[in-house]
């Protein structure tokens, strides 16, 4: 005989899971108890939301499904923001929650919450398990659904009696068969041909890359395609890292927080090739204007994204790396020189000088320099706020990765995501950059970092205000700083000391650089606080 909790653990083993991030509670105890006997590492985070963020950082860095676990009621509810954050950025997660006994479901017993109901619009799929015997099939399906097609979080809610129930033997299904779920992976050959015809007639094409390039593992194919055709590339925030920043074809990030040259490129183009980008409002504020002068080829694995935000001339549904491969086989196009020269000119003309203040760190040049000191394949994780924009526009990407909460814009993402990323890639540099606002939303995870002696580097851009909104107030609210002042609280150096983490405070770019060198040499966690002027603009 085998009980449900052990079945859950065996399912995780069958799926090759080596680590879970979670927080225990009474009704998930049977599961954690069985997990305790195995090699699967269970990382205790300090709040459930961070379990989901850590699993997300892990999933992105390891290119595997991340697993987070919480108990019923408040535990599960705390996890929602993390699950929704993963959903918006298409990150594969399996979230496991304990639930009260199935015979008292719906009676509002202690720590009961309808988590499958509450999460409905933030998950790719969810299960409330009613029978121990269903667990193997459900786990098999959940991992399959999370990782395939357009990835996303899947929730499995397991009542405690289902964990305690027993069945004869454990058999893990070899295959899944969900009749309503068969994502297409190859682009339709006719659409490929039509796309190439449109491209052949284009004088001013541009490729716009999104997070799909990285999710699909299409980075090498994309770079090959760009090398061959010379088509310029702009990126959404989620697509950063798809192209090396110093590649001459790369223009920069588009959108309200992007660079002018990139926005001009997309607005002057006659063909936009969207690669795994969903044209969010922050990326293209007025898609209707773009389609007035440009054809649009939209490549995406999720048919629902095509035509949702931007009218499409040629839709291609499929896995981007396959579609790019199909295109590569037949393409014989070269981007016209005149177009490339124009863009190069805009890049020079439209670059903004960085504003500096004495006694303060100028974040953009600091981040730019920092990128050159990192080892190969470093992982930079930006939080949300001005720090995100500074990172997105200034950090020089080559073969590393850039993680951030792009869709949901969840403050407090960077530190727990860095925890997950470091567990996935212990030999790589993992740097979290956040503001003093976001840092205070997840600084409890310093305990997780210290407890596991995780070599995670945290850079806090301390400007004593909630910078992004503060800046908005400057532009639109007569500089009335309503509820955006953090003042000089707390003393982050003392906080770091309390957790036994090394730290430093930098008041100039020279200091910040010197400390960051010291920080990168050490194999221990480090907190670098950069003193940033509250009026330093986002760009």
């Amino acid at each position: 005989m085998i009980n449900g909790a052990e079945i859950m653990v065996r399912c995780l083993q069958e799926e090759g899971v080596s680590i879970v991030f979670g927080y225990p509670g009474a009704v998930i105890c049977p599961f954690f108890d069985k997990l305790y006997d195995t090699d699967i590492k269970a990382v205790l985070v300090r709040q459930e939301q961070n379990a989901a963020h850590a699993a997300s950082g892990y999933a992105r860095a390891a290119s595997k499904v991340g697993v987070c676990v919480a108990t019923s009621g408040p535990g599960a509810l705390n996890m929602i923001t993390g699950i929704a954050t993963a959903y918006m950025d298409s990150i594969p997660l399996v979230a496991i929650t304990g639930q009260v006994r199935s015979d008292v479901l719906g009676r509002d017993v202690f720590q009961e919450a309808d988590i499958t109901g509450a999460c409905e619009s933030f998950v790719k799929h969810s299960y409330l398990v009613k029978d121990t015997a269903d667990l193997p099939r459900i786990f098999k399906e959940a991992f399959h659904i999370a990782a395939t097609g357009r990835p996303g979080p899947v929730l499995i809610d397991v009542p405690v009696d289902v964990q305690q129930g027993e069945i004869e033997e454990f058999v893990y299904p070899e295959k899944v068969n969900i009749i309503g779920y068969k994502p297409s992976v190859q682009g339709h050959p006719l659409q490929i041909k039509r796309a190439l015809d449109v491209l052949a007639n284009s004088k001013r094409p541009v490729i716009c890359v999104g997070g799909g390039v990285l999710t699909s593992g299409a980075k090498p194919k994309l770079r090959e395609f760009v090398k061959l055709t010379g088509i310029p590339v702009v990126s959404t925030m989620m697509g950063i890292g798809a192209m090396p920043s110093d590649n001459p074809a790369y223009v920069g990030m588009i959108g309200s927080h992007g660079i002018k040259a990139a926005n001009k490129t997309i607005h002057e183009s006659d063909l936009v090739i969207l690669c795994g980008a969903r044209v969010g409002d922050r990326a293209v504020a007025s898609p209707d204007q773009v389609v007035q002068h440009a054809n649009v080829i939209h490549i995406d694995i999720d048919p629902a994204e095509i035509g949702k935000n931007m009218k499409t001339t040629i839709p291609i549904v499929g896995d981007l790396k396959n579609v790019l491969n199909q295109l590569l086989k037949e393409v014989s196009y070269k981007a016209p020189n005149e177009w490339l020269e124009n863009i190069a000119q805009w890049k020079k003309e439209l670059a903004l000088p960085h504003k500096t203040f004495d006694g303060f760190v100028e974040p953009q040049s600091f981040l730019k320099n920092l990128s050159s000191h990192l080892r190969q394949k470093a992982i930079l994780i930006a939080d949300v706020g001005q720090n995100q924009i500074w990172c997105a526009n200034s950090f020089k990407m080559s073969d590393g990765r850039f993680f951030t909460s792009g869709g949901m814009g969840t403050m407090g993402y960077s530190v727990p995501a860095a925890v997950g990323a470091k567990f996935a890639r212990p030999t790589r540099d993992v740097i979290a950059v956040c503001g003093d606002g976001a840092f205070q939303m997840s600084l409890n995870e310093l305990a997780t970092i210290a407890q596991n002696n995780l070599n995670v580097k945290i850079i806090v851009m301390r400007n004593t205000v909630l910078g992004m909104v503060h800046e908005l107030q400057d532009f639109h609210y007569n500089s009335r700083y309503a509820v955006t002042e953090l003042d000089d609280i707390p003393n982050f150096i003392k906080i770091a000391e309390a957790y036994g983490i090394e730290s430093a405070f930098a008041s100039s770019n020279e200091e910040a650089e010197a400390y960051s060198k010291q920080m990168l040499k050490s194999d221990k966690p480090f907190l670098l606080v950069c003193n940033v002027h509250p009026l330093t603009p986002s760009k």
Binding site: G117, I179, G180, P303, G307
Partner: protein, 163 residues
């Protein structure tokens, strides 16, 4: 414009809430929704009538297709399907008006399913346009209560074979 969508789904607990939840969170306005099992008891059919333009229907189809328990989505083309709704109407009806109302029911092909001292209940299965005619005719007598199902629809083989 009104569109009629036919959605085949796995017959599990919670599927209906996944489908109906989609409408409110994506801002779609539905006129009616009817659900029942098909010839295969593991599969249910949800018939949805929605008000919107082509963009709305295309998005709706795509978003519905994304739901894991959704097997197939079809939007019926005009003239290519038969649709019916079931109505139960309770009309105020003292003895002296019984004959009048019975005549209306007969004319409209409706059925009287309950007669009481002061009321009559009429069952009517037809399209919403025909139902409007019926209610117009009954209004002068005093309609006490109307109960209606959502629209169910089935594709016409005759229309398909003509194409």
């Amino acid at each position: 414009m009104k569109y009629t969508l036919s959605v085949l789904v796995e017959n599990h607990a919670g599927v209906l809430s996944k489908v109906s939840g989609l409408f409110s969170r994506r801002g779609f306005n539905i006129d009616s929704l009817a659900v029942g099992t098909t010839e295969d008891e593991n599969i249910s059919r949800i018939t949805i009538v929605v008000n919107g333009d082509e963009y709305v229907v295309e998005q709706l189809e795509k978003q519905l297709n994304k739901l894991i328990p959704v097997i197939k989505v079809r939007t019926y083309t005009e003239g290519g399907f038969i649709s019916r709704e079931l109505y139960l109407v309770k009309v105020h009806c003292p003895a002296k008006q019984r004959l009048d109302i019975m005549k209306i029911a007969e004319l409209m092909d409706a059925k009287i399913v309950d007669v009481a001292l002061n009321s009559m209940t009429i069952q009517f299965a037809d399209t919403s346009e025909r139902f409007e005619t019926l209610t117009d005719l009954l209004k002068p007598y005093g309609i006490r209560e109307i109960v209606r199902t959502g629209t169910v629809a089935i594709e016409k083989d005759s229309a398909v074979s003509k194409k």
